[in-house]
């Protein structure tokens, strides 16, 4: 096995004809937390779908845990996914099950463990995210941050090697946001996994990650450690890190000149 949990080389991807990702090179070293940042619509979710085998690369090679995802058949993809965990943007908990049953779900589906052992494991995972006391609640009774943590417990149920997070911070209050950030870092370190965090929340993720990739319009425009990113003078990165409204990412959607549109001045 090599040092990289994910190794992407010259990846390009297009929906039908529209190119979404262009010539992406990305590596995730084992045991690290890697952030992929970029504004909405730049192709982050698409990238996660390719890594998890839901979409096939148009060009290039994507190696995950040593296997070439683009060449796997359905059975191969399912086998790979047993070693992956994914946290969906809104948790995607099963609404017809309790918190306990949600976390037990992957174990019941993929193992023949007796119910009392499953119980021990479920409580262990829930304890790790601080929600052992919430085991009898249903997803409807959870706050957004709690739901995200339960989903996290569910996605580590089978001790994955690689965790993928799609916008784990979106829509959370500052406290819940910090909790999720800490959890991602702690779980990565204690369980010895690799984490790939897709996000547009710069401040929170710079606190917890080891390495950052910036994607803009399907291209990696910058990369580096959090310190390098904070110090970066690249206009795009600067705009993103400091949350400026205008810059290389224009505030205005392309439009005809304002005075023309208002009809103040006749063309």
């Amino acid at each position: 096995m090599n040092d990289y949990s994910v190794n992407i080389e010259s990846l390009s991807f297009a929906y039908d004809k529209r190119a979404v990702l262009k010539n992406i090179h990305l590596k995730a070293r084992r045991g690290q937390v890697i952030a992929i940042m970029g504004s909405s619509g730049c192709g982050k979710t698409t990238l996660l779908k390719i890594i998890s085998g839901a979409l096939r690369p148009t060009e290039g090679a994507v190696h995950v845990e040593g296997v070439d995802v683009g060449r796997l058949d359905q059975a191969g993809i399912y086998a790979l996914r047993r070693r992956l965990g994914m946290l969906f943007q809104f948790g995607a908990l099963f609404t017809d099950m309790t918190v306990y049953d949600n976390v037990a779900f992957p174990m019941r589906e993929h193992t023949d463990l007796p119910e009392d052992m499953i119980r021990d494991l479920v409580l262990l995972k829930l304890q790790a995210v601080g929600l052992r006391g919430a085991q009898h609640l249903t997803p409807a009774e959870l706050s957004g941050g709690m739901a995200r943590r339960v989903a996290l417990a569910r996605s580590i149920a089978l001790d994955p090697k690689l965790m993928l997070y799609d916008e784990p911070f979106a829509g959370l209050d500052p406290i819940a946001l910090g909790v999720i950030g800490d959890l991602i870092r702690r779980l990565t370190d204690t369980l010895g996994l690799t984490s790939l965090v897709v996000t547009h929340d710069v401040q929170e993720s710079l606190k917890i990650v080891d390495y950052v990739y910036f994607i803009s319009e399907g291209v990696i425009v910058a990369q580096g450690t959090p310190d390098e990113i904070r110090a970066s003078t690249l206009p795009y990165v600067h705009q993103f890190v400091h949350g400026e409204a205008d810059g290389p990412m224009a505030f205005h959607y392309p439009a005809p000149a304002y005075d023309l549109d208002l009809g103040v001045q006749h063309a």
Binding site: A79, Q89, F90, A92, T95, F105, P106, E109, H110
Partner: protein, 242 residues
């Protein structure tokens, strides 16, 4: 149509899991079958009572009121039981199935399942299909039984048709193979049609609130039409077979 046929075969192909874990099917029988039970029983009773009154009116003109039992039971077992129960099933259980699957899709529950290497067709869709297909004939039978009881209430208890001939003529006239078996075949076919339509509409729904609500409406409309058309086709074949 072509897509839903493909969906149907895929669903059959993915039924292995739920045959190995019958508790998955049992749960769905409970949620689609048992929850439809009350509405089926109440409707059956009223339909039977109406049949009793209307039938008595008609038969009386020919002086053959004792045949009321035959008329009520044959109408129910051959036609009204399977058809009306299936229509009720489509609006009670079918719409619920579509809404549930559509919402699971819209909230990425199905995608999450796939990410956990669990096939939603095998784990979510197939058990609901078999649950529906098994429930439907049972519900139709209960509808008919309730209807016959309703006919008895009105005909015998209320109007005063002779109780002995009500039951004995009924027993003599209703043929196990011809009537009961055909009724069971009909309701099974309706059960397949309703659940496949309901599951497909949910699975195929655009993942938005509007998409799911439209799909739910389509389930009720399409499956009601399908039931009535299939009923015509099946009845035609069954009569030719006689």
């Amino acid at each position: 149509m072509g897509v839903s046929t493909r969906f149907f075969f895929l669903l059959l192909l993915h039924s292995g899991t739920c045959f190995r874990r019958p508790q998955l099917i049992l749960r769905e029988i409970f949620s689609s079958g048992v929850l439809s039970l009350i509405i089926i029983l109440v409707s059956g009773l009223f339909v039977g009572m109406v049949l009793g009154m209307q039938g008595y009116e008609t038969l009386q003109t020919y002086g053959s009121e004792e045949a009321l039992g035959v008329l009520v039971s044959l109408s129910l077992v051959r036609e009204l039981g399977p058809v009306v129960a299936a229509l009720l099933f489509a609006s009670r259980a079918g719409s619920a199935i579509t809404a549930e699957i559509g919402l699971m899709k819209a909230t990425e529950q199905l995608a999450a399942m796939e990410m956990m290497a669990v096939d939603p067709l095998a784990r979510v869709v197939a058990p609901r299909f078999w649950g529906g297909v098994i429930s439907m004939p049972l519900l139709a039978a209960m509808f008919s039984a309730m209807g016959i009881f309703g006919g008895y209430l009105v005909g015998v208890v209320l109007i005063g048709v002779d109780e002995g001939s009500f039951w004995s003529q009924m027993q003599a006239a209703v043929d196990i193979r011809e009537d009961i078996l055909n009724g069971v075949i009909k309701s099974t076919v309706f059960g397949i049609a309703v659940t496949v339509i309901a599951l497909f509409e949910g699975y195929d729904a655009p993942p938005t609130a509007e998409g799911v609500s439209r799909a739910t409406t389509r389930t009720v409309v399409t499956s009601s039409l399908a039931i009535l058309m299939l009923d015509f086709v099946l009845t035609a074949f069954m009569f030719r077979g006689v």
